[in-house]
Symmetry: C2
């Protein structure tokens, strides 16, 4: 155990952790149609111009713009109708000077044309001729070859989460398969002799397992798969056996430990025995969440979280979501936040990051952040909160009425 | 067809639509463990107090607070040690005046005790007695019965999306099954003779299907299931056949129509024949997206979207996501937004809502919204955008440098 009970600031704890945790991103090829919200893992360039042919953006007549210059309702330009370009087909003919071709929105512009006159600005005067009442400029009402994207141009960014419109952008280029990150696997181990499964009657003195489910949900939201290893009694051999299996099967192992000092010590010992370098940080200057363990064991990330549900969630957001992001090679996702005014004074010790759960309330059209005052061992403190605010390391608190940034959860 | 080409404002279009679309929420019972991000569909109350017994929040000694009053390191209170309460067990004994019981964090407080002295503030002086150096107040270091939540109290809110912590809150009360909304089914029909499947080589004049995939992704993100009905040629009989099947199988049917006027008219006719009352709105004062159709056909919501990908996405966000919300009985989800400064002047006609795609850029530490100037028929306009800003109906534009709200997508 390299360090014991030296409390680290959150940034120092993270720096120490990533010194030893530099995973490579595992990738797979999947159908683009199934890639919604997956993380792109390989660079892409456009294999073709898009569009590959000049297209009309309106219904009308493809023309050489120069043939329409000076046209007015009183003095229209007369053009010969050379034919119609059917939708979904190549233009089978070119137009010459003084000629026009009927085209539809999205249809191909025939060779010789460089603009499209809107149908409303024309009149058919015979089967084979039209009048044009307004001039068009070169390129008007036309999407040029490569105007959407040019062949060879890079598209999308490695590490980005694929949005609906990104799938559309890939399909437009015929890219029907993509390389994405394989979701890392997060194993969750609940410990504590007082913890009972939620689907069975509890005995006096017992509490139901909460954290397995909350942490699994957080892992899934962060882009991982979650495996719950159930509840392990506070016996060292039992904990070691489950931990050894979890470290084999997962990329990240999370212990939701009993909260008493003896349990925490045993968890730290077990984690330290899982591989090298072992426990890196034991104690982080954050409230709630101080008795947190960060470890790397033979390349796997291992965390010991406080048993309190509020602490567990704060620490998950602080360290485990970013660790999942490393395994995904994901760009840091922008955390959804809102600005609100703080409804009451909040004290904090300098040298410690405080996370305070808040409820959002609209008062006279203004958004207020109302601290949820429940203890950090109450799950309904979290359930009743819309988000959390952070009191930074170097602050001594926040004043009522101040504008704060609420991280929505 | 009740109204034709009378352009409605977006709020008027929505009002007319929901006059005829008032679906009931279909529900199912599922395991709470599987309910992440599902919409709660039935009210819940706490079936028990949580916790059901008073619990210690620290490691220490359960005492009657009155026995510690005035205790100091120099003049400690002497208490007899009545025993230890093991984790996960009921306290098998009560403490009397002048007695204390060893308890662990999360453990049960024995009858007779009303506070816990932290272990650090005590000293074991014999096998059966301790010294207390600091007084505790009644209730100190104790979670009271029902302090987390009281039996009979309402928990969560019908229509809310279940977050990781909400699953924890349900599990804590032994609620291992919940009633949630069944995801509505959105059917997507692509039309247009020029549209080709993305996995096949395209011929000159053809473009690949983009909108089926983008719209399916948007539907999934809004909490629905998506069925793609493929690409239907612009023949009325073919379109009618697919439409009739989709309306049977889905709650919402979306036509991603060809963009030319003749295709739009045919789509409107086909939609109008699908059931009563039929087309309600044909044309919305929004840019891009004007040629939009809103219809209700025998209780199913049917939409005709412009073929342009940008228009299709704007209209999906404006009408279809809220329609999915009605079918889910979902509370309006807060749209993720950021404030940014507009990088250039934007003109707009009063009487029309404009949606402008923007890219976010940080300049000198300030966030700027840079309009992506691509045409609305370019998919990479969307791909290159981080979000959109809205120029309201009654505005004539926005000025460079102004603070705007960017809806992230």
């Amino acid at each position: 155990m390299t360090e014991l009970f030296t409390v680290h600031t959150p940034p120092a704890a993270w720096a120490r952790f990533i010194e030893h945790f530099q995973p490579s991103v595992r990738t797979e090829r999947i159908a683009t149609a199934d890639a919604l919200d997956r993380i792109l893992a390989a660079p892409l360039t456009a294999p073709q111009d898009l569009p590959e042919f000049a297209r009309a953006t309106v219904d009308g007549y493809a023309v050489a713009a120069v043939d329409t210059y000076g046209a007015t309702p009183g003095l229209p330009a007369f053009l010969a109708l050379a034919g119609e370009v059917p939708m979904g087909k190549a233009a089978a003919f070119a137009i010459g000077p003084g000629e026009a071709a009927l085209v539809h929105t999205g249809g191909m512009i025939p060779p010789g044309a460089d603009a499209v006159v809107m149908i409303e600005d024309t009149q058919r005067v015979a089967a084979d001729s039209i009048e044009v009442f307004r001039p068009v400029a070169e390129g008007q009402n036309v999407v040029q070859v490569g105007e959407d994207i040019r062949r060879g141009q890079p598209i999308l960014t490695v590490g980005q989460r694929l949005r609906p419109q990104d799938l559309g952008g890939l399909m437009a280029l015929g890219i029907t398969e993509v390389t994405v990150a394989i979701p890392p696997v997060v194993g969750i181990i609940s410990t504590g002799d007082e913890v009972a499964p939620p689907d069975q009657p509890v005995q006096p003195g017992q509490v139901r397992d909460i954290n397995s489910y909350t942490l699994a949900g957080l892992a899934i939201r962060a882009g991982a798969r979650a495996i719950r290893y159930g509840i392990v009694p506070d016996q060292r051999a039992a904990l070691e056996a489950v931990a050894a299996r979890a470290v084999q099967e997962c990329d990240i192992v999370v212990f939701s430990a009993g909260s008493s000092v003896s349990y925490r010590d045993m968890t730290a010992d077990v984690i330290d025995g899982l591989g090298r370098p072992g426990v890196l940080v034991h104690g982080v200057s954050v409230k709630p969440g101080k008795p947190t363990i960060l470890a790397v064991c033979d390349g796997k990330a291992v965390f010991g979280l406080p048993g309190n549900p509020v602490s567990a969630m704060v620490i998950f957001d602080l360290f485990i979501t970013p660790a999942i992001g490393l395994l995904l090679g994901a760009q840091k996702a922008p955390q959804p936040t809102v600005k609100a005014r703080l409804a009451r004074n909040l004290a904090s010790d300098s040298g410690r990051e405080d996370y305070v759960q808040v409820r959002l309330e609209t008062r006279d059209g203004e958004l207020w952040a109302v601290p949820v005052l429940g203890k950090s061992n109450l799950i309904y403190t979290l359930v009743n909160a819309d988000g959390a605010i952070k009191i930074p390391l170097d602050a001594n608190g926040l004043r009522a009425g101040e504008w704060v940034t609420v991280m929505i959860h």
